[in-house]
Amino acid sequence: MRLTGHGLAADLPGGWEGTISLDRGEDAFALAASGGVVRPVAHLATFPLPGDRGDFGSGAVDVMRTEDAFVALLEYAPEEADTPLFAQRGMPRRLDPRAFTSRSLQRGIAGQVGWQAFFTEAGRPFCLYVVLGDGSDTHLLVRKVEQVLATVTIEGAP
């Protein structure tokens, strides 16, 4: 299944589902009036994504099974591109299973491990956040995630 939107695209392998959207919050429009900017968020997962979930996957990671993986790709303001936080060039598409730890999660959930990277690609700053359902089997799950990351393309900013 091909997923596209907001200059992002991914070819999801079988067993994956995903969304590419802007902020889904109810206050988004009101916030825009006071200067807030909603930016694309892509969620890719090996399990059904609940509608009520946070941008970094809260609500979704709660229902992950041990064999599942969750990927969030979140864009930031263009002026942040190449700042020290986003200095890394290009989205990491090969991941080190040893980098995944139970501490690298937005919210610690028993058994899960996570990993996070900030980078700039095509002049656009992003955060890539990956959660694996089973910290004891990271190699297999990381390969699964790498398969989907290999299909992700990021177009240059218009």
Partner: protein, 533 residues
Amino acid sequence: MTALTPVPSMNPETSPASRRTLAHRAVDGLARRVAPRRVSRRSFLIRAAIIGSVLTVAPLRWALRPTSAYASICGQGASCGGGWTAFCCTINQGANTCPPGSYVAGWWKIDRSPFCQGSARYIVDCNRTPGETCGCRCATGSCDQRRVCCNNFRYGQCNTQVPGVTEVVCRVVICTTPWTWDPSCGTTVRTDNRTVTHNAPCLPGTRASAIDLRYQDLGLVGSLLGTPEAAEAPGPRGGAWRRFEHGVITSRQDGTTQLLTGELAREYAVLNGPGGGLGYPTTEHQSIVGGPGEFAAFERGIIIEHDGTAAGVFGPAADRYAQLDGPTGELGYPTTSTTPVGDGRGSVTRFVEGAIYASGSRALELSGVMLARYEELGGPADSGLGYPVRSAATGDMEFEHGVLVQVGARVRVLRGAIAQRFAEQGGRDGPWGQPLDDQGEVAGIDRAEFAGLTAFAAPGEPAWVLADPVLSHYLDTEGPAGSLGAPTSDSFRTRTGQHLASFVGGAIQVDAGTGQARTVEPRTTRSASEVQR
């Protein structure tokens, strides 16, 4: 600097603190039976307060669901094992600020939060500053027992000059947009409505007032305001205000708040806040253009702070002060606030270069020797002059019941009917010229001397002025103390060359040719007006 307390690392998911504590069970017991057995007075009061808060915040939910009282206050995932990070006020001595050794690293919003009066609430992550140390542990709050320095995670909208990802030390809560709260934060919106119930006892609850939320956003006890000094007090027209150790927050009925700090706030509190003469602030601290110091504007005035002194100018005095260009004008900075004179009618405001006296809607400034003389005479309450009403072009100052006339370095005082006629005739530029001395009194009759003439006024009567030769003869016959009494006309010269003036006890006629004067007994049929004719 290592302000974050390093502690031995532990696994929060299996630590004792992640399990239900004795306190939890005790408070739940209190929830079941409000009167617990064998509990100290202090802990009973604390627990009772929590139960009270729960019943206030979520009575139905607390009653119907099998949830603990603590969970109702702190929301979901409040235990260490819940995996979330603790609120900063829980671990930072009540301060809703990033503790030393941490920095603002990112934020997310929660839509329509009951903790922000139905508007968006923002959770701001304070991450460990690179180079600092901070061990993973569980918070020991009464119910916010979430993690501290455990979750190595970053939202990433703030301080992007800091590379990398470190542990989230704790979470700050605000109801204003993060990019206005901290300019180091960007505007990219991230949302997580799953955290809508998260809270802590040290944070405002769902019934928070606008003042509570402003105080929260400033950092609670970690703010420049310090600790509260009084409960929130109602103000006029549905507003409110609250005093803190180092400032004041006011709120209007529409929810807008204003913050005042330092001496300026202290003076506002002394002046009774919004219920006093100033009313509500319309601005916060602003710099004075063209001079040192700060000011805040109010509905009916202004407070100016300069050199560690703050003074409020309000009511008609404020309008007059503004007309005089405020602190950069002729009066300079205020030295004492607008104060009632004590006569129940008016006020005085003192400045470096003078004072403004106000009564009713009228306010007028006095300075220099004019002010010194007015106050030496007793001011509006005791001088008998009343309040200033007009500053004449001549420099004379007219009052409700008199006139002050500056003659060289001296200031002469005229009162009552004499002052009124003096002013009507043009003051010192009129036919009388300058007074030679203060107005005096002889035999109950007011008397004021001018160059070549003297004015007299009996109580309740108009002022009359006598000149030579009538004046000399009048004074020779003991003046007002003599049988003639007070004049009832000016002295004047007839067409036949006689100088005349009438008095209560008769008249004086002076022959212009011989200079011979005589006193005429009163004629019952002749009135003062007839004499003048």
